[in-house]
């Protein structure tokens, strides 16, 4: 409802743009959709573009960490980009950047995955 998800891909990188608010209610739907797409075995890396993510709480953190575990178990890379200040603050406080790199824009984020693979 209050979260809308756009997916695109760039070679072996799945790019997911999250628009709206990521909380416990919306995180479930995001989890299923990303898992579903990753299950198609077409992708290796995951970029989350948070440019239009206006709100996130710890349920969002949990969902992001969950995807990170899945992707890295299979040897892929996961990165974030275009994070708004309020979401950035929550992520920083939670120590998320110790494990997940973040980039200013989608293109840099996608290249970062490419270079690493």
């Amino acid at each position: 409802m209050s979260l809308n998800l756009e997916m695109k891909h760039s070679r072996n990188v799945l790019v997911v743009r999250l628009n709206g608010e990521l909380d416990h209610h919306t995180a479930e739907q995001v989890r299923y959709q990303i898992e579903d797409e990753l299950g198609k075995d077409r992708y290796f890396h995951l970029v989350l573009n948070l440019k239009n993510l206006d709100f996130m709480d710890s349920s969002g953190l949990g969902m992001i960490l969950g995807r990170y575990k899945k992707v890295s178990q299979l040897g892929g890379k996961m990165v974030l980009c275009s994070i708004q200040p309020s979401v950035y603050r929550l992520m920083e406080m939670s120590g998320l950047f110790k494990i997940l790199p973040t980039f200013e824009d989608e293109q840099t984020a996608v290249s970062a995955c490419g270079v690493a693979s």
Partner: protein
Amino acid sequence: MKQNVHKNFMELKFPSRSENEAFARVAVASFVSQLDPTMEELTDIKTVVSEAVTNAVIHGYENQEGMIYIRAEIDGSRISIQITDQGTGIMDVSEARQPLYTSKPELERSGMGFTIMENFMDEVTIHSKPGKGTTIYMVKFLKSHQQQKMAN
């Protein structure tokens, strides 16, 4: 006619459905808006309400339907928010408060809910009785002094 210190309150009651998480945080944020908080203060409040309501839905009622009660109070630049469920309660509150501790890792919980509440609010008190339910009581002092504006 107007007091020097602006006082107000509101009470909210709704079933523990995940659809109501967004409603709850917007309602409290909108109530608090009358003090003209900064965007950052407003986000802090939305976030902690979202954390406590989500906990009531997931842990308190374990996705069964129960009632969630919120009371928010304004007293000058002091905001207090009380969020109550009549669910399972917490056995060990100091364990629950630990960063990264979660009793439901299988649900992809981060265990950061209480840590975020403590970081974003000036005071967080947890009252909980196993089998009876949980009340989270939080206080925040707004930095911007809006009482002057309110007083006239």
